[in-house]
Structure formats: structure tokens, C-alpha cells
Amino acid sequence: MNIPFTAQLINMCAALLLLIAFAMLSQRRILSLINLFALQGLILSFSTAVVAYTTSQHHLYTSAALTLLLKVIVLPLILHRLIRKLNIKWDVETMFNIPTIMLIGLALVVFAFNLAAPISQMAGTVTKSTLGIAMASVLLSFLMMITRSKAVPQVVGFLAMENGLFFAATSATYGMPLVVELGIALDVLVGMFILGIFFFQIRVAFDSLDLKHMEKLKED
């Protein structure tokens, strides 16, 4: 096996991303969850930079820098401030049975790899082997959104899903055009602000950020 060092580096990053996705899936503490999210952003940014270096796609450096700025610094900071203001820093979530969720997650990973195999064969990028992992992390983040009962972890799940999509784009086609990426970055930022405002509103209306209270909104 003679895989170049950079490709090995990218594969390692992909493996780490998958690991972090599982870690997020099983993490009960909100604070740790945000830290994991920041770590995921860091690895994503690093792997994008490596891809940029390997393939000399210079716009990917910009993407990497953007990811670093937004997902490692700005968004975690906002989230930290939010949980401090909402005073839920040490909240522990009640969740479904974690081992069951992990098992479902494993099944999803198998599904994602199976799904990505034919696409990977067609793609001519050095990163093609990581497409399966990217899709797996998208699905795992989605699963995380479904299993969480509180608002903040759901938002973190949403942001992690965006990370997975970004990674999928990088590994399949060396990233989207810069304009699209800038647009998505702005969307995520604005979405975060709006959701932050919603947190306060939900808290005022229901005295809690537990989303099961919102079931009352249903019309009978």
C-alpha cells in the first residue's frame, strides 16, 4: 500500500470526524457537546486546508479559514454565551437508551458507506474514500437532532449536520463554489442568531427549553 502522506492525513481526519459524530451522539452534557462541536469544526478546517494543499485548489484555503473563523470561534462563542445567559451550563439531558442509539448509528454508517460506494468510484478526487464518512456524519447528526429533547443540543445537531454536508462537498467535488459557501456560512450565522432569540422566547413561554412542552401548541 502506497498511499501518499497527505491522503493518509485526510483519511485520519475523516476517521476523527466520524468518531466525534459518535461522541456527540452519546454526550449528555451541553457544555461538552459544544466543545465537541468546536473540535469537529477544527478538524474540518484542518482537513480542508490539507485538501487545498494537496490539490492546489486555492479557494479551499478561504473555505478552511472561513470554517475556522465561523465554526471554531464564532459559533461556539455564541453558544457558550447563550448557555451562560440561559444558565444551563451544567444541564444534563435525559435521553433515550444511549447504546440503542449507538447501534442505530452503526447501522446508519453501514448504510451511508453502502450508498457512497458507487459515487466514490465515479469521483476522481483524492478524497473520494471519505465520502461515505461525510454522509455518515450527516445522518448521525440528523439522528442526534431526533433523539435530543432540549433546544440547544438540537441546534448543535443542526450545525453539525452542516459540517457533514461541507465535508461531503469537499470530498466529492473539492468544495462548492466560493459564493455558495459564503452564502451558506451567512445562513448558518443568521440562523444561529434567530435560534438564539427563539431560545429566550421559548424559555419565557414555557419556563424551560425542553421541547416536549411545545406539544401543547398542537391543535386538537
Binding site: 448504510f111 450508498l115 440528523f142 439522528l143 431526533i146 421541547l211 411545545m214 406539544e215
Partner: protein, 669 residues
């Protein structure tokens, strides 16, 4: 007619459409009841007159236009051939009177409400004109839907009442179900070429199966608009709910758009006609006519009565279409032309006489605030002018000579009576039966109209508030007078009308009645041969007038001198009160008894010991339970099952998207 101005009829018609739209928008911007009633409605009536002239000119001259509007690469095609022109003539002619009447009728309405109504009203007329002119499926559907929506808004003018909102919803629902069928019909007709102009549909040859599918879809779709059984349910709800001029417009003109659609699809766009389509249309038409007239006989709300009478007349028109289809399929061109002439004639007649009656009920409603026949009566003393105008309308719709209703029904019966000799033995037996049923419907229509006129105008007032009412204003009178003049003219000069109708029959069934109808001069109408039957309305009118005058003179001369007034021999009745008159319910009682199995009658009979006896009877439409109630039940069941999907938990909703995503991913793999 417009040649000297260098204009084609279609240019004039389009100009009228634009003028109506401008008038509607101007009314909306001005928001002033006085200006709208004194200026905008009369101006709209003037435009109607111009449209009628354009329709008359267009009968003999086909013109086309392409509007560079609509979607890119899909311009609107317009065409004005004889069929379109005839219906534009109908629209223009009937709406003159309705618009003039509206100028008086709406004078006390609030500014903002009237501004909206005037916009919807003019858009409604413009949309109908465009339906008649459309020459591609796209334009047709746009105009058709604009017509449905604007008329829905007009129906729900009094939307504060829940009953009106329900009627409007039912109307909109059935209209849209019909529109879907029409759209599918066009889809079949273009035959996979992707070209939706009517011109390409004319040149597409469909197999018998697909042609039948198209015809059935068209019959269903247009039937929903026309109120053909069993899609009639909206009609008796929506017509009473709307303001009277709107009811007049819907019943008199809008129902004819459906007639136009059926004729356009079955004779113009489809190149083959099968005889059993005609049998289907004939049977449906007869059922509709009988159903309509029987239910009209037992109604006690005057506008509902007229609505059921509209169902009956649509049934008669459909009978005519069915007969035309049968004759045309067997290549009996002269008879097909006769049946089609009768059909078109009846459509034209109905536009005028039913509008007249609806306008009249509007005036009664305005003056008395009462729609229930049981509270009216004796209005001939309070509103003599209205009573005279309405008398003409009632006699016309009852099918009495020398008015117009007689001419068309007579022509249709002639077509039936001349029909032996069809190559199908069963059909030969069926046709006289159908003629008998049609005659029954016509006779019952007369009964209904006696009830309608007698209960409202004759006798004594059944309610105290009627004593205070005033007769109609000048605008109302002019509007109704236009209708009356049209009814009389259509009745007295049928040969001239038939000469014009010939241009339409020539186009649709390639044969015209003209030669034989006129062979004895314009005075006598002879559909086929003078030996078989002929009718001279003007002569009849003269005889009626002279005979009536002579009788009254004789009576005055010999009888009046011997009149003696003395105390009444009261026979145990010290006084005659209004409550002793025959009521609407009482008058309809025989029909209710005979056809009780046909309708659901709910009676509340007082016991003999009841000190305050109260009789109440209601008639229900059994077809509702047969056709509509099961659909409603299934719909509710499915709806409640789907409602279970809405769980209220965000996680469940997320799960839905997640599962969908996984399923789609697995699917594309």
C-alpha cells in the same frame, strides 16, 4: 359591420374586454357608490351592447388574434368563429339589461363593498367573454378559472352569513372538480403532441376510445358548471346566496359557458361523434330537466325555485345537444341542424328570460326584504310595473306562445317528432319516450311558473310589511325592459334569429335550416316542411291581441251594466283574510305527493289537540345522500387518519424527514 372602421369583430370584442377591466378597476379606485351606479354600470352596459354587435358581426366572419401575453413562448390564441360569436352575442345582449338593472339595484350599497363588487362583476363578464374567444387550452383554462373565482367572490358578497360562505365553498369545490376534468380532457385531446392550441386539436385524430374519454371528461367538467345531474348540488345553494343581478348573470349567462364548452369539444374539437354519446347526453338531460322542474315545484324560496328551474332548462338544452349528437352521428344533417338550432335558441332564450326573472326577484327582495313565498303576495297592487314586466318573463319561461320560450321548445319537440327512421330500433323507441318526458317537463314548468307568479303577485299580502313597499326605480325598469323586449322579439321574429343561427349550425353540423325555415316568408316558421308543422308567431300575437280586446269590449258592453253590488253572502266566513289563500306549499302539494318517493320529505304534523298548531315540511335532495354523503364520509375518514400524522412533537416531525431522506437515498441507489 365594423369594416368601415378597419376593425375585425375580434378587435372590438377584445376592446370591450379591456374596457370592462378598466371600468372595474376605475370603480375600485374611485370607491364611490354614486359614480359606480350612475356611471360605471351604465358604461358597462354600453360595452355589452358593443359586444353584442361584435358577436352579430362575427357570426359571418371568422377572425383570429394572438395576444403576446402569458408565459414565454406560450402566447394567448384568440378566435372568433360563428359559435364563439353566437355566445358573445348572448353574453352581450343579456348583460346589457343586467348592468342597467344593477345601476339601480346597488344604489344603497356601501362605497367599499360596491367598489369590490363592481370590480368582480366586470372581471366576471370579461372572463366569460375570454372563455368564448379562447383558442388554446391555456387561455381557456385561465379565463375559465378567472370566471369561477370572480363568480365565487360575487356569490360570497354577503359573506357575513355562514350560509352564504357554505354555498360559496360548495360552488368553488364543484367548479374546481369540473375544471380538473376539463383540463384532463384537453390533455387527452392534444394527443401527445404537446401543442395545446385548439387548431392543432382539430387536426388530431383520436381513436374511438380516447375520443370517448375526452367526451366523458368534457361532459363531466362542463356538466359541473352547468348543474347537470348529479353535479347540480351547488346551483340551488349558490344562486339564492348571490345578489340578484349576480344570480341573473350566473344563471342566464355563466351556465351557457358550459353549453358552449360541450358544443365546442364535441362538435368542433373532436372529429368523430358516436351515437351513444348522444343517448347519454339525452338521458342525463332528461333526468336533469325532470329533477329540476319537480324540485322547483315544491320550493318555497323564490330564488331557489328559479335556481331549480335553471337546472331544468339546462337539462332541456342538454337534451337538444344529445339529440343533435344522435342525428349527426347517423348523418341526418337536416335533423341535426334542427335540433342544434333549437338548442342554441333555447340557450339564448333562457339567458334573457331567466335573467329577467332573477332581476325581478331581486326587486321584490329589495322592496320587501323577503325571499320566502309564504310571506309575499298581492304585489301586483303595490308594484304594478314590476308585475307587468315579470308577467312577460313568466309566460315566456312557461313556454307559452307567442313568446320566445315556446319557439325553442316547439322546435325541439319538432326535432323529436321528425326523428323516426334512425337505424337503431331501440333508439327509435326511446326517442318518443324522451319527447313525452320533455313535454312533461315543459308542462310542469308552466305549473311552476303559475305558482311563482301567482303566489308573489296575486292575491293578498301574506305579511304586514308588504303593505309599505314601493315600485321599482327607473334603472331597474330600463334594465328589465331590455329583457322583456328581447323576449318578445325572440318570440315574434324567430325566422330572423334562425337565419343567424344557421351560420352556427353550418359550422358545427355542416347543414343549415335557412332554406326550409324561410320557404313561406318571414312570417311563418316551418322547420322542415309546411305539411308537417309551421308556426306564425306574429299572426298568433295579432289574434291574441285582437281576440283579447274584442272579448273585453264585449264583456264591458254586455255584462258591466248588470253588475250589482250587495252584502256578501258570507256562508260562515265573516271575513276573507290573507291566510285563507292557497300557499306556495299548498300549491306544490300535489307534486310533493306524487313524487314523494323521489325526494326526501320531512313533515311535522300537529296533533288534533294542539292549541297552537304548526305545520312544517321540508324537502331534501335524496341525490345528496347518494352521491355526496359517501364522498364526504370517505374524505373525513382519510382526513382524520392523516391528522394523526400531526403529532405535536418536533422529534416525530424530524423523524418523518429522516425516514423520508433514508427512503429516497435507498431509492436512488
Amino acid at each position: 359591420m365594423f369594416d368601415q372602421f378597419g376593425l375585425l369583430p375580434i378587435d372590438v370584442a377584445l376592446g370591450v374586454v379591456v374596457a370592462w377591466l378598466v371600468l372595474g378597476i376605475a370603480g375600485l379606485l374611485l370607491q364611490n357608490t354614486r359614480i359606480i351606479t350612475q356611471f360605471i354600470f351604465p358604461a358597462g352596459a354600453l360595452c355589452s351592447l358593443v359586444l353584442a354587435a361584435a358577436g352579430l358581426a362575427g357570426l359571418s366572419e371568422t377572425s383570429v388574434a394572438i395576444l403576446p401575453l402569458g408565459l414565454p413562448d406560450l402566447p394567448f390564441h384568440l378566435r372568433m368563429d360563428a359559435l364563439s360569436s353566437f355566445f358573445l352575442l348572448l353574453l352581450g345582449g343579456a348583460s346589457v339589461g343586467i348592468s342597467l338593472f344593477s345601476a339601480g339595484y346597488f344604489r344603497s350599497m356601501a362605497d367599499d363593498a360596491l367598489a369590490l363588487l363592481s370590480l368582480e362583476y366586470h372581471v366576471f363578464m370579461a372572463a366569460m367573454a375570454l372563455v368564448f374567444m379562447a383558442d388554446d387550452a391555456y387561455m381557456f383554462m385561465v379565463a375559465w378559472e378567472s370566471m369561477a373565482l370572480s363568480s365565487y367572490l360575487l356569490v360570497t358578497t354577503d359573506h357575513e352569513q355562514g350560509e352564504v360562505r357554505r354555498a360559496g365553498f360548495l360552488y368553488l369545490l364543484i367548479a374546481h372538480v369540473g375544471a380538473i376534468a376539463i383540463l384532463m380532457g384537453f390533455g387527452v385531446m392534444q394527443g401527445g403532441q404537446g401543442d395545446y392550441t385548439f387548431d392543432s386539436m382539430r387536426h388530431t385524430h383520436l381513436s374511438t376510445f380516447w375520443a370517448t374519454v375526452t367526451f366523458l371528461l368534457a361532459l363531466f367538467g362542463f356538466g359541473a358548471k352547468a348543474g347537470v345531474l348529479p353535479l347540480h348540488a351547488w346551483l340551488p345553494e349558490a344562486h339564492p346566496a348571490a345578489p340578484s343581478p349576480v344570480s341573473a348573470m350566473m344563471s342566464g349567462i355563466m351556465l351557457k359557458t358550459a353549453v358552449y364548452g360541450i358544443l365546442r369539444v364535441s362538435f368542433d374539437l373532436l372529429d368523430t361523434q358516436l351515437w351513444w354519446w348522444g343517448v347519454l347526453a339525452l338521458t342525463l338531460g332528461l333526468l336533469t330537466a325532470l329533477f329540476g322542474v319537480i324540485f322547483a315545484a315544491v320550493q318555497s324560496d323564490m330564488k331557489r325555485l328559479l335556481a331549480y328551474s335553471s337546472i331544468e332548462n339546462i337539462g332541456i338544452i342538454l337534451v337538444g345537444i344529445g339529440l343533435t349528437l344522435i342525428f349527426h352521428a347517423f348523418h341526418k344533417d337536416a335533423l341535426a341542424a334542427l335540433a342544434l338550432t333549437a338548442t342554441l335558441y333555447h340557450a339564448l332564450n333562457h339567458a334573457f328570460m331567466k335573467s329577467l326573472l332573477f332581476l325581478g326577484t331581486g326587486s321584490v327582495l329589495h322592496a320587501t326584504g323577503e325571499r320566502q313565498l309564504g310571506k309575499l303576495g298581492g304585489l301586483i297592487h303595490k308594484m304594478p310595473k314590476l308585475a307587468l314586466l315579470m308577467l312577460v318573463g313568466t309566460l315566456a319561461i312557461a313556454g307559452l306562445p307567442p313568446l320566445n320560450g315556446f319557439v325553442s321548445e316547439w322546435l325541439l319537440l319538432q326535432a323529436f317528432l321528425l326523428s323516426p327512421g334512425l337505424p337503431q330500433p331501440y333508439l327509435n323507441m326511446l326517442v318518443p319516450l324522451a319527447a313525452a318526458a320533455l313535454a312533461l317537463a315543459a308542462a310542469l314548468a308552466g305549473y311552476v311558473m303559475v305558482k311563482f307568479y301567482g303566489v308573489i303577485f296575486l292575491g293578498q299580502p301574506r305579511d304586514e310589511k308588504i303593505i309599505e313597499v314601493h315600485d321599482i326605480g327607473i334603472w331597474e325598469r330600463i334594465g328589465m325592459l331590455c329583457m322583456v323586449v328581447a323576449c318578445i322579439a325572440l318570440g315574434v321574429f324567430p325566422t330572423f334569429i334562425i337565419l343567424q343561427l344557421d351560420l352556427v349550425t353550418e359550422m358545427l353540423v355542416h347543414h343549415a335550416l335557412g332554406g326550409s325555415a324561410l320557404q313561406h316568408g318571414w312570417l311563418m316558421l316551418t322547420p322542415i316542411q309546411a305539411e308537417r308543422a309551421s308556426y306564425g308567431p306574429l299572426i298568433l300575437l295579432c289574434i291574441i291581441v285582437i281576440g283579447g280586446l274584442a272579448t273585453s269590449l264585449v264583456v264591458k258592453k254586455f255584462y258591466h251594466g248588470r253588475l250589482r253590488r250587495g252584502p256578501a253572502w258570507d256562508c260562515g266566513f265573516p271575513a276573507q283574510t290573507a291566510r285563507m289563500q292557497d300557499t306556495a306549499e299548498g300549491f306544490g302539494q300535489p307534486i310533493r305527493q306524487i313524487f314523494e318517493w323521489f325526494m326526501g320529505v320531512v313533515r311535522q304534523m300537529p296533533t288534533p289537540f294542539d292549541l297552537h298548531p304548526h305545520f312544517h315540511s321540508e324537502t331534501h335532495d335524496l341525490l345528496w345522500n347518494i352521491f355526496y354523503a359517501p364522498i364526504k364520509r370517505v374524505n373525513e375518514m382519510v382526513g382524520s387518519q392523516v391528522g394523526k400524522l400531526q403529532h405535536g412533537r418536533i422529534h416525530v416531525y424530524l423523524l418523518y424527514s429522516f425516514v423520508t431522506l433514508l427512503a429516497l437515498l435507498a431509492f436512488i441507489q
